[in-house]
Symmetry: C2
Subunit: 332 residues, 2 copies
DNA sequence: GTGAAAGCGCTAACAC
DNA sequence: GTGTTAGCGCTTTCAC
């Protein structure tokens, strides 16, 4: 049978209140009483029941993380970093995978916010802020991660998308490129939108070809880059920018198969996933944009705990910057 | 304020019992009563409180997964597959990352099994079964994943380790290799042990060099393969077997940097992570062992739910087999 | 076909 | 310095 706090109290010859207070150090208990209590606990092998406790206190010590694609290295590393921060602060992490599917996101937010977690980290795949907002109970702690919305109702931790793209286009222009294509992620995401708009602006500013056919969108899942590449190569691009890590590795492989060498036959700039081994292999053939994933995760963990512990703090926005690794720097 | 079941009952003019039964379809309720109840629920925006419910019923509808390294593609894909199965069956997944650290595993098992989850999936990093076993409350549903122990006390889902290694050594021998080295994972793990013992046996059976210096161990985390490789190359190996995906990619990169080409200058066999893009890039230069990660995850989810729902079923063991991709098959 | 009420295990206000 | 006890929101037995 399950051993409860009353069993411990009985054996130790004290009240349940005293047991509770000894366990939680929540009021003074004399040394000798403490000792009796701990002895009884050990003897019975008592462990406080977490679900009774969270029911009583209303705190679950648990955070939910709505992720678009767990098996993606970018999010995998982020999850690791979040989990690391949370567990160091006594919280647990519940993962929900949406596979970039809005219905799944909807369902998961609903389930998790209904008393399962104290707060929610969301890397949303929603196209519509209102649809997301409707799911969230009033006052429920939420932090948006990696992807945000116009309406600044919730705190967010993102990475600057404009700057690295703008910079990369200018670099390609400086090296003589005339027709630079771009492969973006899902068009509905804030990150994609920012990147594409940076592209448009840079292409205009640098006097490069401005054609809609040079802008392609993948879905950032397995095998979505090839079709985009075919279309881009047909346009005789002399430069390509790839906006996501998985698609970047697919690009590299596909070009390799076609015998097209980055840095020689075509200029390539890619978002690469943190610590992906591709970085190493292609570091001297293409420019890389490396997002600070671990910092993203840490900051997200930090913010959600803040909001949980102090829900009335004003909305907070953090924008981190990516590292830009130019391959020219590596040639001597 | 939080709206509770009594608020709904009051507004609908029925008892809390009726509300509960309507929500859960747990006894007959007349159509008109149902209607009143649902109307009240909608009006108040009522959501049953998950933590009250799990406190009352003792079921959390949550499974914990103790993972050695979340950011590793192998486990990332596995987590995805587990989460997929669980969420389809109304369960949530709590992730705990141990970073191959036994103390962290200990702490996490203790925390999670104390009323936070209904069952535990463990890819254990423990060297000692007793140490693991001590942490688990009697009768608590546990399924071991990917790594198991001599004592068959818990159900397990693993991948056959002996066969692919044995086979690969024989293949290398058949191609004329004389000195085949191996890079194993953490020596304390069952998977490593099985692989190394397959290696020893194959090397003996095939008449290859049997030297302890040909057996090296990495820790399967970032940057652990290089040192092993240096030592192995010094031994003038003509073949190398790498027992883990991350170390395999590091191997490929390191050899590339040193100008050593797999399949030409040296024979290479690697465990590669499912769907890692390296597969594509090196498919015609080295043999690959691909583990059925998704099936592993699905089977693990299936088994843990079985044990949760029927704790008295006998212990179950499943051993899946890896795919072997020989690169010779690709040359015409 | 529905209601009343006990009680899951714990915390915390109140009392002494 | 410690004990008594109400009650968190729900499910479920028992009763009608």
């Amino acid at each position: 049978m399950k051993v409860t706090i009353s069993d411990v109290a009985r054996l130790a010859g004290v009240s349940t209140a005293t047991v509770s207070h000894t366990i939680n150090s929540t009021r003074y208990v004399s040394e000798e009483t403490k000792e009796k209590v701990f002895k009884a606990i050990a003897e019975l092998g008592y462990t406080p029941d977490a679900s009774a406790r969270s029911f009583r206190t209303g705190k679950k010590k648990t955070v939910g993380f709505i992720v678009p694609d767990i098996s993606n290295k970018f999010f995998g590393t982020m999850i690791e970093s979040v989990e690391n921060y949370l567990s160091a602060h006594g919280y647990h992490l519940i993962i929900a995978n949406t596979k970039e599917n809005m219905e799944r996101e909807e369902k998961n937010i609903r389930l998790l916010s209904a008393g399962l977690v104290d707060g929610l980290l969301i890397a949303s795949t929603m196209d519509d802020f209102a649809r997301l907002d409707n799911l969230i109970p009033a006052g429920f702690p939420v932090v948006l991660v990696d992807r945000t919305f116009e309406a600044k109702k919730y705190s967010s931790i993102c990475v600057s998308n404009f700057q690295p793209i703008y910079r990369s286009i200018c670099r390609l222009a400086g090296k003589g490129a005339k027709r630079v294509g771009i492969i973006g992620g899902l068009p509905r995401l804030s990150s994609t939108e920012e990147r594409i708009s940076a592209y448009r602006q840079a292409v205009a500013d640098c006097g490069l070809a401005q054609e809609e056919a040079l802008i392609r969108y993948g879905d950032s899942m397995e095998n979505s880059a090839q079709a985009c590449l075919d279309e881009l190569l047909e346009q005789n691009c002399d430069g390509i920018v790839v906006c996501q890590g998985l698609m970047a590795s697919e690009t590299v492989i596909y070009l390799h198969k076609k015998g097209i060498q980055p840095g020689k036959d075509i200029e390539l700039v890619s978002f690469v996933d943190y610590d992906s081994n591709f970085n190493e292999l292609y570091a001297n053939q293409m420019d890389m944009i490396v997002q600070p994933v671990e910092e993203l995760g840490r900051a997200a963990g930090e913010q959600i705990l803040r909001r949980i512990e102090n829900p009335d703090e004003p909305v907070f926005e953090k924008v981190l910057t990516s590292a830009y690794r130019s391959y020219d720097a590596l040639k001597r």
